[in-house]
């Protein structure tokens, strides 16, 4: 594998708190998923590899060069931050074009790239809308747009699917996979295995600032399957849905949420669970409001790996 990004003995601490602890890895072209629970050190690691933070110890190199304060290298990096922050008074198009101009593109080139990238992320119709009026999903997509607009070789995406609706999520997953196939080095973080799995089979598993596993997602999947998986569903008729799903063998338990409008299932075969769910919802005309996968199961795997 041709290494694009390489870290050796990389550590970062804030005072007494160690966020990343002696991490070493190599990442090449294609999509690599950075997987770990909240607070595992994913965001710090992403900030280190994008040169936003200076390593406390060890090294991180992109294309063989140090990253911190290496400005020309930023031409080759695109970063989609996790934080939901913008220059709210700008329109989507103004935002992307301004950042493109900071990449050295002229007015015409910045404008043409803005148009293309907004089409790519499905925001062409909202280009002249103020960012302050964007929905959460649109804000995620505009962050993605500014990250890819200058056509970088390395893309670092911090929780890019957070807050997206199912359609935008599917489209974004398709885009990420496409960028990976095209030979770009894409690093994408999430605390939800299914999201990562939909984009790549190569993962970097991180917990408490340390890399626990590095390689194929199927190894993790095997471990995951040994641990029951929790699925939280908010819908129009949670009791009816529970009754329907509890007939399946893989569903081990059902817990109703205190407000009576949601239910959490425990399944030992999450893939089968997710596969059958849309059909069942349609057939019984149950309206789905929200479906999330708490990372308890992943946490269980982490505990297992740590032990």
């Amino acid at each position: 594998m041709t290494e694009i990004l390489e870290a050796s003995g990389l550590s970062k601490w804030y005072g007494q708190v160690i966020a990343v602890n002696k991490v070493s890895f190599r990442i090449g072209p294609g999509v690599t998923g950075l997987l770990g629970p909240n607070g595992a050190g994913k965001s710090t690691l992403m900030k280190l590899v994008t040169g936003q933070l200076r390593p406390s110890q060890g090294q991180v190199a992109l294309f063989g060069q140090r990253i911190w304060n290496n400005y020309p290298l930023f031409r080759r990096i695109g970063f989609c931050p996790e934080q939901d922050s913008f220059y709210e008074w700008m329109t989507g198009a103004e935002f992307v074009a301004a950042l493109l101009r900071l990449h050295g593109f002229g007015e015409a080139e910045a404008e043409s790239r803005t148009t293309s990238v907004l089409e790519l992320v499905g925001l062409a119709d909202a280009r002249d809308k103020k960012l302050g009026a964007y929905s959460k999903g649109m804000r995620q997509r505009i962050k993605l747009a500014q990250a890819v607009a200058h056509d970088p070789e390395v893309l670092v995406l911090d929780e890019p699917l957070a807050g997206m609706d199912p359609v935008a999520r599917r489209e974004t997953i398709r885009l990420v996979r496409g960028w990976g196939k095209a030979g770009r080095c894409v690093i994408v973080s999430s605390h939800i295995l299914h999201e990562i799995e939909a984009m790549t089979s190569t993962i970097l598993l991180i917990h408490n600032g340390q890399v626990l596993a590095d390689g194929d997602v199927h190894q993790i999947r095997d471990l995951i399957d040994q641990h029951p998986h929790h699925i939280f569903i908010r819908c129009s008729e949670p009791r009816r849905l529970a009754e329907i799903l509890f007939r399946f063998e893989d569903v081990l338990s059902v817990r109703f949420e205190p407000d009576g409008r949601a239910v959490t299932f425990e399944s030992e075969k999450p893939d089968e669970f997710y596969q059958r769910l849309p059909d069942l919802l349609l057939r019984h005309q149950i309206e789905l409001e929200e479906i999330t996968s708490p990372d308890d199961n992943l946490q269980a795997v982490f505990h297992y790996l740590v032990k």
Binding site: Y71, R75, I77, Q83, Y87
Partner: protein, 267 residues
């Protein structure tokens, strides 16, 4: 395209982005009100003098001189540069937008410089009209000869205001890039250190920006007179050069800090 043109485009983009950021910040309403307050003071003074509401020993030019040397140079300029200068970096950190700027292929010192230019520009935009309007309000309608005669002093005032903006702006930009509680630190400097030191005997006064401004002001108001009674003025050339050098020094230090400091954007 030449690298100079490219750099200019980067400067311009950063500057416009910063002007927008500052313009849309909550501070702007406050700052604009203070600028208008100066004009309001001029209007009030003019009304008092024209209609003899109270017996006043001052002439309109004397009122303008006092307005310039106290309200404008020692208050308005300091206040605006303090609020905007300390916000140049901290506003982007608090708004969590700094990430977008620092991940562009532009040296951080260039970003700092672009932001500083925006600060100078927006401060000039707020201060210069206040001065010119105050001049017009206080001078027009009386002796036109005096109006034209004192235009030289007005030009000198504007030049001093530019120097003050450059020096205070750079200092507060430095404080903002360096310290977490930058507004408090700036207030302590502006109204603590600069409020006391110029009126103490000895050379300590040379460690204030205000000393060099007072030294070249064409008007003598009470505060300036007291300060100059205790110690000597610095020469005009020395004052101008010191103000420029201080601006360069503060700005260079601010750029260095921005380059080396890690700004933690909380999730």
């Amino acid at each position: 395209m030449s690298s100079l043109a490219k750099m200019w485009r980067e400067f311009r983009t950063i500057a416009f982005l910063t002007i927008d950021t500052l313009f849309w910040s909550k501070k702007t309403i406050f700052v604009a009100l203070i600028s208008l307050f100066i004009v309001a003071l001029a209007i009030l003074a003019r009304l008092i003098l024209t209609y003899n509401w109270i017996r006043s020993p001052f002439t309109p030019p004397q009122v303008f001189a006092t307005l310039m040397s106290t309200a404008v140079v020692h208050f308005l300029v300091v206040f605006i540069t303090l609020f905007y200068g300390t916000a140049l970096i901290s506003e982007e950190v608090e708004g969590k937008t700094l990430t977008y700027l620092f991940l562009r292929p532009i040296p951080k010192p260039v970003i700092m410089l672009g932001k500083y230019l925006a600060l100078v520009w927006i401060t000039l935009l707020l201060v210069v009209p206040s001065i010119v309007f105050s001049y017009l309000i206080l001078y027009l309608g009386s002796d036109l000869g005096l109006f034209f005669e004192d235009m030289g002093a007005l030009a000198q005032d504007l030049g001093i205001v530019v120097l003050a903006i450059l020096a205070y702006g750079a200092l507060f930009a430095l404080i903002g890039a360096w310290l977490r509680h930058s507004v408090l630190a700036g207030l302590l400097y502006a109204f603590g250190w600069e409020g006391i030191i110029p009126y103490l005997p000895g050379y300590l006064r040379k460690l204030t920006i205000t000393h060099y401004i007072q030294s070249i002001l064409p008007h003598d108001d009470t505060a300036v007179a007291i300060a100059m009674l205790i110690g000597e003025r610095s020469g005009p050339l020395e004052s101008v050069l010191t103000l420029v050098l201080l601006a360069v020094l503060f700005l260079s230090t601010a750029s260095l800090i921005v380059r080396e400091k890690e700004y933690l954007i909380e999730q």
